[in-house]
């Protein structure tokens, strides 16, 4: 396994957000993490990258424990994070943003990521803040890939993007995973996430309530009613009376 998380507990100060979460991501595997707002999805990613220092449990990347490691050390171990809101360096050019992505391995070779996102090739000399939302998201993913990560964490890829663009970017993830990178994808849009993922976890109130392959999740009635919305009409009759 690339990433193994076992009974991870994390939070902010005295507020615990994650309660004994266990989850794993294999080499070249895309794992979707879905759930409602406030479930702790972003917190889980931030706990992996050590941006939340208060955490306990087991957190192992490629055989190396990341508990107690600093943010820089986690990055050096091979974790790249595409945070919510992208967090590009808005005043720097796209070229500088990408080269900063390759900071650790002194990777200056932009060709592979430009091949994946050709639009960025035309924007290299523009400041990142002037890009459109979709281009910014591509730039953020490209920047993360510049570190040639073992594990890629993506938070809310679809936020603020047109559905067409989301599909286009999601389609690239398959190629990234095929090269051996494990991807943990946090997504509000469960349907879109499960389309590209191999497996998925459902997080509610800081606990994993459901886990399985994409097919298993798509067939699960709780999943369908709460996140996929497909069977809403069929459930509508029983819902109000049942609760």
């Amino acid at each position: 396994m690339m990433l193994e998380i076992d009974r991870l507990t994390a939070g902010y100060g005295r507020v615990r957000v994650l309660h004994e979460v266990s989850l794993d991501v294999g080499e070249g595997e895309i794992v979707a993490l879905v759930g409602p707002n406030g479930a702790g999805k972003s917190t889980l990613l931030r706990a992996v990258t050590a941006m939340i220092p208060d955490r306990s449990g087991t957190l192992v990347l490629a055989g190396r424990s990341l508990i107690g490691a600093s943010v820089e050390a986690v990055a050096a171990a091979g974790v790249a994070h595409v945070p919510e809101g992208r967090r590009l360096f808005p005043g720097l050019t796209v070229r500088d943003n990408l080269r900063l992505g390759g900071w650790l391995g002194r990777n200056k070779d932009l060709a592979p990521v430009l091949e994946m996102f050709p639009v960025l090739g035309d924007r290299l000399s523009q400041v990142a803040g002037s890009l459109s939302g979709g281009e910014q998201q591509m730039c953020a993913i490209a920047r993360a890939l510049m570190s040639r990560p073992k594990l890629l964490l993506i938070d809310e890829l679809s936020l603020g993007l047109a559905p067409l663009l989301v599909d286009e970017i999601l389609a690239r993830l398959g190629g990234i995973a095929a090269a051996g990178t494990g991807i943990l994808l946090v997504e509000q849009d469960a349907g879109a996430a499960l389309e590209v993922a191999h497996r998925g976890y459902v997080l509610e109130l800081g606990e994993v309530v459901l886990a399985g392959t994409t097919a298993e999740l798509a067939a699960d009635p709780r999943m369908r009613s709460a996140y996929l919305g497909g069977e809403w009409e069929a459930d509508a009759a029983s819902e109000p009376g049942g609760t």
Partner: protein, 347 residues
């Protein structure tokens, strides 16, 4: 869905990447070398009063370039920078008066002392951001002044202290106006060189990333504590070296003048007007402020401070990003209107 995505892709692909007219890499170095040579040639043309004025300009170039490393590139506005200036000055004086050391030994030691001190206070202070960092550094400078004032045995206290600079007891003979002109010119040139090398190097990338988004920089594996401390230390070293040379030039120094908060304010104004986070901005800012200030002093002696203040306010309103950044943006966007610049940067 697939076809429309592909169509959009080719639509963007058709637009050939426009090659930007990038300036040749050697140009800034050539301009710098010519500027230094011009300053050397200028020396023989100046009266001694003018020579002293230009020497002071070189000192402010050094101070502005030094402040820009931490305040401009890194985005940590240090309002206690004059503390390093005074620390460098008093280190030199103490070493020369009590240690009987040559200025040429005391000078580099003073720069190192300032840098080590900055690194030591930087470890706690560089965790603060924005106003908190500014206020904390202001406090450090005030504290240093109090310290110097209260150990008269070593520093002469508030009454000041004099470096023996003539006769047999002098560790190093006073350099004269010509000597200090060359000393400060050299210091200014080295400062600009240091800033240029940092800006182009790996550290410069790290500092600009920290300035923009420190958490994102850390997430890319940049050791932000290390990078900020290096910037702060280098900034203090240049400032301390300037203070050291200034002390020797003045011969007699007092805490009030060496820890004068106005010196910090001048550094900040020069960097902001010239263009923070650039190599040439602080140099041009220092030159511009010095020339305007000197002109006003000679022609409008009574209104000097007031007029300079008004000019600075107008400059900041019209060019909030500084001269160099304005010119760069204007060339890039083919828009040289000051009015649209104000509109673009209006909060």
């Amino acid at each position: 869905m697939e076809t429309s995505t592909a169509a959009a892709g080719t639509g963007q692909g058709e637009k050939a990447p426009v090659p930007r007219g990038r300036r040749p890499a050697w140009l800034p170095w050539a301009v710098g070398a010519v500027a230094v040579l011009a300053c050397l040639g200028l020396q023989s043309q100046l009266y001694s009063g003018q020579e002293r004025t230009v020497t002071t300009v070189f000192m402010f170039v050094t101070l502005a370039v030094g402040w820009n490393l931490i305040g401009g590139f890194t985005g940590y506005a240090c309002f206690g920078q004059v503390g390093f200036f005074g620390l460098g000055a008093y280190t030199t004086v103490v070493l020369m008066v009590h240690g009987d050391l040559s200025f040429w030994v005391a000078w580099p030691i003073s720069a190192v002392v300032a840098a080590v001190f900055a690194a030591a206070i930087g470890l706690p202070l560089l965790r603060l951001k924005g106003h908190y960092f500014a206020v904390a550094t202001l406090g450090v400078a005030e504290g240093l002044r109090e310290l110097v004032t209260n150990v008269p045995r070593w520093t002469g206290g508030g009454a000041g202290i004099t470096i023996p600079s003539t006769g047999a007891k002098a560790p190093t003979l006073w350099l004269g106006n010509d000597g200090f002109y060359l000393l400060f010119l050299g210091l200014g040139a080295v400062s600009a060189l240091v800033a240029a090398l940092i800006s182009r190097g790996r550290t410069g990338y790290a500092l600009r990333a920290i300035n923009q988004d420190e958490d994102a920089a850390a997430a890319l594996g940049i050791n932000t504590t290390w990078a900020k401390t290096v910037a702060f230390g280098m900034s203090a070293a240049l400032t301390g070296a300037a203070g050291s040379a200034y002390a020797f030039q003045q011969v007699t120094i007092y805490p009030e003048r060496l820890f004068d908060v106005n010196i910090t304010v001048l550094m900040v104004v020069m960097v902001v007007i010239g263009g923070s986070g650039t190599v040439s901005g602080p140099i041009l800012g220092a030159l511009g402020i010095a020339v305007v200030s000197e002109y006003l002093r000679q022609h409008f002696a009574q209104w000097h401070s007031f007029t300079l203040g008004v000019l600075i306010i107008v400059a900041v309103i019209l060019l909030p990003q500084g001269l160099v950044n304005f010119v760069r943006d204007a060339v890039r966007m083919r828009d040289f209107s000051l009015l649209s610049n104000v509109r673009r940067y209006r909060l």
